[in-house]
Each structure stands twice: as C-alpha cells, then as structure tokens.
C-alpha cells in the first residue's frame, strides 16, 4: 500500500480482486481433470478388464477416474464459455492476505511439530497467532499460549494416555 493513497484508495485496494471466480474455477477443474487422468492411467496399468477370476484391481477405479474426467471437463467447458464469471471476484486481496497470514504459519507449525514436538510447536503457534492477529501484549500471550498447551498435555498424556510427538524440551524435562 502506498503512503500517498487516501482512505478511499486504500479501501478500493482492499476490495480489489486477487483472482476471478472464472480463473479459479478453470484452475481447480483442470487439477481435478489431471487427477482423474492419473486415476484412469494407473487403473489401466494395474488392469481394468475382466481377469480370470473376476474383475481386475483397476476395474472399478477406472470408471471412477473416467467419471472424474468427464465431470471436471464439463465444469471446465462451462467456465471457459462463461466469460461473465471473469468479473466476479473469488477472493479479495485483503481476504487473501488474511488467509495467507493464517495458512503460512499453519504450514510452518505442522512442519515444526516433527522437530519441537506437539506441545512446544503449539505454544509458539498460538503465541504467534495472538501476537500477529490479535495484537496482544506478551504478558497476556505467554500465560494463554503456555496454559493451553499444558492443559492439552494433561488431557492427552495423562487423562487419555494418548502420547503425542515430543521434542527436545520434553526430553530435557524428563517427560517422555
């Protein structure tokens, strides 16, 4: 956002579309079509015909894949012919930014679990979320983020005896 743009300019920019419904519709239909083609291809590879003792392994999935291809092709053709959809916004820039500020940390969080364990990763994730989206002070963030993880630890490790992945901190504390 440029500093010179006024309040209305900013408002416009926020409402600006990041992608049209038509573009996303075409994109998703193409991906589904590709998926269907993969299913058809692999089912054909393992055998989609009548074997010695009944249908082969690919018999059922072959037709499933075929139906995926046909239905996604129908969606694709309809979207290609409907140019009016190009004017419709799938997601505004502001909303996309919002989604990415949540999605990216979520991906990082899930990746971190393998290294830090569930509890530490969750504490960091909740803290980041509160800091970034809620703009809380750290004195509020720390007790909530740590408290939630401790409660989860008590529920899952102790009450239900369902062990979740643990990392170096738990090892250091001897909680494994």
């Amino acid at each position: 956002m440029s500093a010179s743009s006024g309040a209305t300019g900013m408002e416009n920019e926020k409402q600006q579309s990041a992608a049209s419904v038509r573009a996303v519709e075409i994109g998703v239909a193409a991906v589904v079509l590709l998926f269907g083609a993969i299913v058809v291809f692999d089912s054909y590879r393992v055998g989609a015909r009548w074997g010695d003792d009944g249908p082969q392994a690919g018999y059922f999935p072959f037709y499933v894949g075929l139906l995926i291809c046909l239905s996604s092709a129908a969606v694709l053709v309809r979207a290609l012919r409907n140019t009016a959809l190009a004017a419709e916004s799938f997601v505004s820039r502001e909303a996309l930014k919002m989604i990415l500020t949540v999605l990216v940390p979520t991906v990082v969080y899930v990746a971190l679990i393998a290294f830090l364990g569930f509890y530490v990763a969750s504490t960091i994730y909740i803290a980041y979320f509160m800091w970034r989206l809620g703009k809380y002070a750290w004195v509020k963030i720390a007790p909530i983020a740590i408290g939630v993880s401790v409660v989860f630890f008590l529920i899952f490790e102790i009450w239900f005896a369902v062990p979740l992945p643990k990392g170096p901190l738990e090892a250091a504390l001897g909680l494994n």
Binding site: D42, G54, F90, L103, V107, V110, A114, A161
Partner: protein
C-alpha cells in the same frame, strides 16, 4: 411389541451411571463443538473418535463409545441453533433457515424465546424421529437381511444418485466431488487382488487415505479459512434465558402444533435420503410460511419461523441414523463418521447388527431418547455459558481449534503424514466450498468406497461380468430403477413440466 421389550433392554444398557455420564459429557462437548467456528458435528466426532479406541475394547465399550459420539452429534445439532440465533452465523448448513427469524427475534430482545423455541422444537423433531427409528429400523433391517451384493450395491447407488439428483446444485460438481472420494478410497493395497493402486511408489500411501483426516481437514481447516474472510469479530446478541421466558414460550408453542408435526414429518422423510437435513429445513420453513396465517411476517422475527426449520433439521439429523444402523448407509456426513467409527471398532454396520449385537443397537436407540433429554436440559440451563465461548476473540480460538484438529489428525494413526494431509485437505476444502463443490458426497464416498466396490465386485463376479445383474430380480431392479430416476430427477422434472405445459396449451 417386540420392539418395546428390546428398547427397555436398551434403556437398561444406556442407563448405567457410566453411560449417563458419557451422555452428559458428549452433549456438552457437542454443544461446544457446534458453537465453535471450524468445528461441527462431522469433524468434532472425527477428532474425538480416536479417543474411543481404547474404550471400545472393553466389554460393552462399543456401546459406551457410540453413546458418547452420538451425543456429541445431538449436542452439535443443538449448538448450531445458538450461533444462528444469537450471532446470525449458521454453524451448519441446515441452521441457515433458523437465522431467518431467529436472529431478528434476538435483535428485538427476544433471544430467550427464540432459543427456547429452537431447543424445544429440536427436541420434538428428534423425538419423533427416534420413535420412527424404534419401530421402523427392525422392519428395514429384517427386510435388508435378504440383501445380497447386488442389492447392497444398488442401495449405495441409490444413495449417491440421490445426491446428484436431489442436491439442486451443479450436478457435474457433485459427481466430481463424489468420484474424487471414491478414487481416494481406492488408493493403497487392494484387499482382493493384493495389487497396489494409485500409490506411485510412495510408502505413506500404502494404507490409503483415511476419511477421518479428510473430514478434519475439509470441514475444520477449510471452515476456519472461510471464516477468516468474513473478518475476525463476532457480534452477538445477549443471551438470557430464565424459567419465566421458557415457560412463556412453552405456553406459546402448542399453537404451532400443525407446523411442528408437518416439519417433523418432512424432516423424518428427508433425513433418510442423504444430505436431506438442509433441504428439509428450508422446505419446512417454506411450507410453514405458506400455511401460516401470518406468513407475510416471516423473516421479521416469528417464533413459528424458528420452530419449522429447527424441528425439521433435528428430525432429519436424527433419522439420518436409520439407514446407517439398518443398511450401513449413512444419511449425513456425521452419520458417515459414526459409521466409520463402527468399522474401526470392528462392528459391521448393516442388517446383521440387529441380530448379532442387539445390546449395541438398542443401547444406541435408547441413548437417542436419553441423549436428547440431556441435551434439552443442558442447553436450556447453560446457554449464556456457551454463548460466552463465542466471545473469546477469534485470534485465540482459531489457533486453538487448529491445534485440536492437528491432534485429532495425528491420533488417528499416530502419523505425522496425516497431519500434513489434513492441511492439504483444508486448502482443498476451502477452494471447493467457495466454488460450491459439495463436500458431503466426497466424505460419504470415502467412507463407503471400499464397501461399495466390494459389493460391486461380488455382484458382477456372480454374474460373470454381466451388468444386468442389477436388474436381475424385482428387488434389486426397483432399487436400481429408483436410483436412476433420482439421478435424472432434474431432467425428468423439466420434461414433465414441458409436457404439462404443452398439454394445457392444447386444452386451451
């Protein structure tokens, strides 16, 4: 009166102190799940399902486990009404019609009456549906004992064709979503031939895609992403319910007996058809508007406008369990998750369940009566408490929900790969929801895929590959025929209207 005896024995099972405790725990958890954004009946049950694995191994444990999970379902149905009325946020698609009159009532300061009316009619709808289940399910199950593989496949076909024909959305998208579910269900080791399908050398894909992961991702993460777009703040009306308001509303409710009965009937009927709860709630709202003497005031805050959709939605949500326990065909995504639970606990849903595990079936049916009573008591007394949950800022509740989803996904198979998959399903769920691909058929196909394929294989194996086996006798033929009629229902309807128009023109 055999059913009454069996039901009384079921009450004996369900009334044990432990099961009663589970009932209340389930209902409370369910309401919380129903109130929270990103958690609904389907993924709430999916997340908690792994916690019942150990419980189900004890003697009588499967009954306790299904009581806990089904009560979560009832609770979630009740909870959906709270968010619809107070916050104008339908927690589930079938709560949308409740917002039409429920939220205006709350804005006029009559939140208490709206909530009381909603809960009471939910309870009434559920009660009618449970009574229907009590007397109809043994009949359906007995009938289905005659089913062989061709009949079972036809029932599945009927289920899926109903989705395509009755959903009213884009048929191509419904088919695509459904077939993606079937394809994902086929991934992994094929149990019949021992062939690896669609794994492309990835060892993590050997055991295939678990529907629980798909449900948690599609409905949980997907919904959080969707909620984010609408902003972070929930603005809600204050919730106060006291005995006086409850009694006053109860005095008013008998006036709407016709609407209640009609909506319950619509709900029970539509609930048996998959995906029926949402159309049922809209349909009974529309019917109530048409038949009510102050139909023109609907949408401005009429108690009757809350009674109609809530009765129908709850009746439909409950009767969705009828095909699940008798035929092994779930009528809703949540029923699909419950069915998946049965499979995981080692039970074979279907007609034999009534013969082999009467304790389980009748315990479940008895718990439906008790669970809904428990639900009504809990919601009427604790609404302010549950509404307070929604006042927790989104920036705290959202990450906590995602952490819960991640824990739920991990505990299914103790696998990190599932957690990564959950995020992928979340993104797919978001895109599909926004492009109006229905998600319920995908989940149902994922759950039923293996069983549908198995029955299909056995059926055509028996007939040496002749597809006419699905028309080989009256029973399977009419099932398949009905499936085809439902599949082409929109076309048939259009054709019929065209003929009528032509006929009337000729007459004129």
């Amino acid at each position: 009166m055999e059913e009454i005896n069996a039901l009384l024995q079921g009450f004996g099972v369900a009334l044990s102190p432990f099961n009663l405790l589970l009932m209340f725990v389930g209902v409370v958890l369910g309401i919380i799940i129903g109130v929270l954004p990103g958690l609904g009946g389907a993924n709430g049950v999916a997340i908690l399902l792994p916690l019942t694995f150990t419980m189900a191994q004890q003697p009588g444990g499967t009954t306790s486990a299904i009581i806990l999970l089904s009560c979560i379902y009832w609770g979630a149905l009740f909870g959906g009404a709270i968010t619809s009325i107070l916050f104008n946020i339908p927690g589930e698609p079938w709560s949308v019609a409740t917002t039409f009159d429920g939220h205006p009532l709350a804005q006029h300061g009559r939140a208490g009456s709206a909530l009381t009316a909603a809960f009471t009619s939910s309870f009434f709808g559920a009660l009618v549906a449970v009574i229907m289940i009590t007397f109809l399910s043994p009949v359906v199950a007995g009938f289905a004992l005659r089913f062989g593989p061709p009949e079972f496949f036809s029932v599945y076909l009927l289920t899926f064709c109903a989705f395509v024909g009755m959903s009213g959305g884009n048929a191509a998208k419904t088919v695509a979503s459904m077939m993606i579910g079937f394809a994902l269900a086929a991934v992994g080791l094929d149990s019949v031939t021992g062939t690896l399908r669609l794994t492309f050398g990835f060892t993590s894909l050997l055991k295939g895609f678990d529907f629980l992961i798909a449900v948690i991702g599609l409905f949980g993460i997907g919904e959080i992403l969707e909620t984010l777009e609408e902003g972070l703040a929930f603005k809600g009306a204050a919730a106060r319910i006291n005995m006086k308001v409850v009694l006053e509303t109860w005095k008013e409710l008998p006036r709407y007996w016709a609407t209640s009965l009609r909506s319950a009937a619509v709900g029970c009927f539509m609930g048996i058809v998959p995906g029926g709860a949402t159309p049922a709630s809209f349909m009974s709202y529309g019917l109530a508007q048409r038949f009510s003497k102050d139909g023109k005031d609907f949408g401005k805050g009429k108690v009757e406008g809350v009674v109609a959709p809530e009765t129908a939605a709850h009746a439909a949500g409950t009767s969705a369990l009828l095909p699940m326990i008798t035929l092994g065909v779930p009528g809703s995504p949540t029923a699909a998750v419950l069915l998946g639970g049965l499979l995981i606990w080692g039970l074979q849903p279907g007609p034999l369940l009534f013969v082999e595990k009467p304790d389980f079936v009748w315990g479940l049916i008895a718990s439906m009566y008790l669970g809904n009573i428990a639900g009504l008591i809990v919601v009427l007394t604790c609404v302010p408490l549950f509404a307070a949950i929604l006042r927790v800022p989104f920036s705290i509740i959202a990450p906590v929900i995602i952490v819960i989803c991640a824990i739920g996904a991990y505990t299914v198979h103790n696998s990190m790969f599932d957690v990564y998959l959950m995020v992928v399903f979340g993104v797919i769920g978001y895109a599909f929801k926004k492009l109006r691909y229905p998600l319920a058929p995908m989940v149902l196909a994922l759950v039923l895929g293996d069983r549908a394929e198995e029955n299909f294989r056995n059926a055509i194996k028996g007939s040496q590959g002749d597809l006419l086996v699905f028309f080989s006798n009256g029973l399977v033929g009419s099932l398949t025929g009905l499936a085809l009629i439902l599949l082409f229902w929109p076309l048939i309807g259009a054709l019929w209207r065209g003929l009528l128009r032509r006929g009337s023109r000729r007459a004129a």
